[in-house]
């Protein structure tokens, strides 16, 4: 019982900061502190008229979409290889691909910065950020897709091939529909990570900042803080919606694979 109280207190600790966001986003004062003064929606209104913010959001969404697609494709390759095949050095190669999960982000950022700018003398652009975000998102995608791929019964694909499908045809018409919820869930997670990532984007962004880099700039000016709170409220709401969809799909994917396991298919 006391353990339950502790766990709930812990959840409150986890949610305390983001619970404050909407409070200050609707508060009619430029100083982010208590006591509150009154209700206003002005800060949200300012978001609509701020064109440099719109550019930053467009950049971030483009980067996040590309990252989601590429890292999920790489994740599908790795998860399928991990689930189906045995090959030399499997554990070592898998561990190597998962390594960005524990690599400090600043190390990823500075090492790519050195390679891109100092060694190849290329300019920084949205694509350098996409490349780095794909690197750090792929392990998360693999972790999610593993759940979808590992429970799959390989005999179903074999059955499709026996019935005349090509190997790719069997994958496309049998496996793909079964792992689809996992794929979408993986893309949503990668999208959310990329959209929110700051440390790497700060080093690798070119002339036009991403949304977190833009927010970082705003945090220095006290006058713009309420607008940041309004923006944060929208972002938190958006992430919760995306993550909830991702979670529902992930579970549905597991359920699909689980049902398939019982063999009531043929």
């Amino acid at each position: 019982m006391s353990l339950r109280v502790y766990a709930i207190a812990y959840l409150i600790f986890l949610y305390a900061p983001i619970a404050l966001l909407p409070i200050f986003a609707f508060n009619d004062a430029t100083i982010i502190a208590f006591p509150l003064s009154g209700f206003t929606t002005d800060w949200f209104g300012e978001l609509w008229t701020n064109t440099s913010l719109h550019t930053a959001v467009r950049n971030s969404v483009f980067i996040a979409v590309m990252t989601a697609i590429i890292s999920t494709l790489l994740g599908i390759c790795a998860a399928r290889a991990g689930a189906m095949a045995h090959f030399p050095l499997k554990a070592g190669i898998m561990g190597f691909i998962m390594l960005p999960l524990v690599l400090p982000e600043i190390i990823v950022a500075v090492s790519l910065l050195v390679v891109v700018v100092q060694i190849f003398d290329l300019g920084l652009s949205n694509w350098t950020i996409i490349a780095a975000h794909t690197l750090i998102c792929t392990p998360f995608c693999i972790a999610i897709l593993n759940g979808a791929f590992q429970n799959l019964d390989p005999s179903m694909e074999e059955a499709a091939m026996d019935l005349g499908e090509s190997r790719f045809g069997a994958f496309r018409s049998v496996t793909l529909p079964l792992v689809m919820p996992g794929i979408i869930s993986s893309m949503l997670i990668a999208f959310t990570i990329s959209l929110d990532e700051f440390i790497i984007a700060f080093f690798l962004s070119g002339v036009s900042p991403t949304m977190p880099v833009y927010i970082w700039g705003l945090l220095r000016f006290p006058a713009s803080l309420p607008v940041v709170m309004a923006l944060g409220t929208i972002l938190v709401a958006l992430s919760i919606i995306l993550l909830t969809i991702a979670e529902i799909l992930r579970r549905r994917g597991m359920a699909r694979a689980g049902v398939a396991d019982k063999g009531g298919f043929l």
Binding site: A7, L14, I18, A33, G82, A85, V115, T138
Partner: protein
């Protein structure tokens, strides 16, 4: 040739794993090697002098500021790890042992949500909570526990530790939870049947079996925290800057990338060495208990 590769399961496995493997090789291993090489070069105004030299490392050893920053960083990472894992263990234990199976994924989902949302803004909000006119100070003054705002909770190392411990919480809970889930519940019954109290069962059966998860949690919190410069920048004040801030400054403001690279290498080596020692110290919990 193509036929030969795709006809065996082994060949298809290698073919499938190649794209993610090559990607990690080109975008992680190659840049890490490059930064290592780079740390032996020197910055000469706008150009990089590519003669091999240990000058960067010499400067890091000789100037006390780097040693001090590194020490403080390792101290902060160690504190964050300790606090995070200690606070997280009971939660993981609760979810694994006291939550009904169908509710477990809901709990895990609730725990991970804050982790995915607006990192920068979350850090900033801790400033609002811990600040001079912040939530904690206003609250404590209103209920009459203190007369003046507490000042030791913002713009110092404590504030950095609290904020980082909050940011890394789910990272610690998940591996411990996975380890606890794997424990065969009949072992606990057996221990109690043989006369151990619930308390001793926890220390002699549950905890040793959960150690692989605890070790994983320690590594997954300790290693990445060294690379965070946002939290020390916003929360640390003048005395709370860490090695990551210095790396960032060298690369972006001072335009001395080789020295920054050397600092990054030194920080990585320290963290890796400490992690290896930690794993070695705990190896008796890790082997043969999969």
């Amino acid at each position: 040739m193509w036929q030969k590769i795709t006809s065996s399961e082994k060949g298809r496995g290698i073919l499938l794993i190649s794209p993610p493997f090559i990607y990690a090789l080109v975008l992680m291993a190659f840049p890490l090697a490059a930064i290592f090489l780079f740390s032996f070069w020197t910055q000469d105004f706008m150009d990089v002098d590519t003669t091999f030299t240990l000058n960067n490392y010499r400067e890091i050893v000789e100037k006390p500021i780097y040693g001090a920053l590194l020490q403080r960083s390792l101290y902060v990472s160690a504190c964050v790890t300790l606090v995070t894992v200690l606070l997280a263990f009971p939660v993981a234990y609760f979810v694994s042992f006291h939550v009904r199976p169908e509710r477990k994924s809901l709990w895990l989902f609730l725990i991970t949500i804050p982790f995915w949302t607006s990192y920068l803004i979350r850090v900033f909000l801790w400033k609002v909570i811990l600040g001079f006119n912040g939530v904690i100070n206003t609250g404590l003054i209103n209920i009459g526990l203190i007369d003046e705002p507490l000042t030791f909770i913002l713009y110092n190392v404590n504030a950095v530790i609290i904020t980082l411990a909050h940011a890394f919480a789910p990272f610690a809970i998940l591996p411990i939870f996975v380890a606890l889930e794997k424990i065969d519940r009949s072992l606990l019954e057996a221990s109690q049947d043989l006369g151990e109290s619930k308390f001793m069962t926890f220390f002699r059966v549950t905890l040793p079996l959960a150690m692989p998860g605890v070790v994983a949690a320690v590594l997954i919190v300790f290693i990445p925290t060294i690379g965070d410069y946002v939290t020390p920048e916003l929360m640390g004040g003048a005395g709370g800057k860490l090695i990551a801030n210095m790396i960032q400054t060298q690369f972006l403001a001072l335009n001395n990338a080789p020295l920054g690279a050397a600092l990054a290498i030194v920080a990585m080596v320290c963290v890796t060495a400490i992690s290896l020692v930690f794993v070695l110290l705990n190896r008796r919990w890790l082997k043969g208990r999969s």
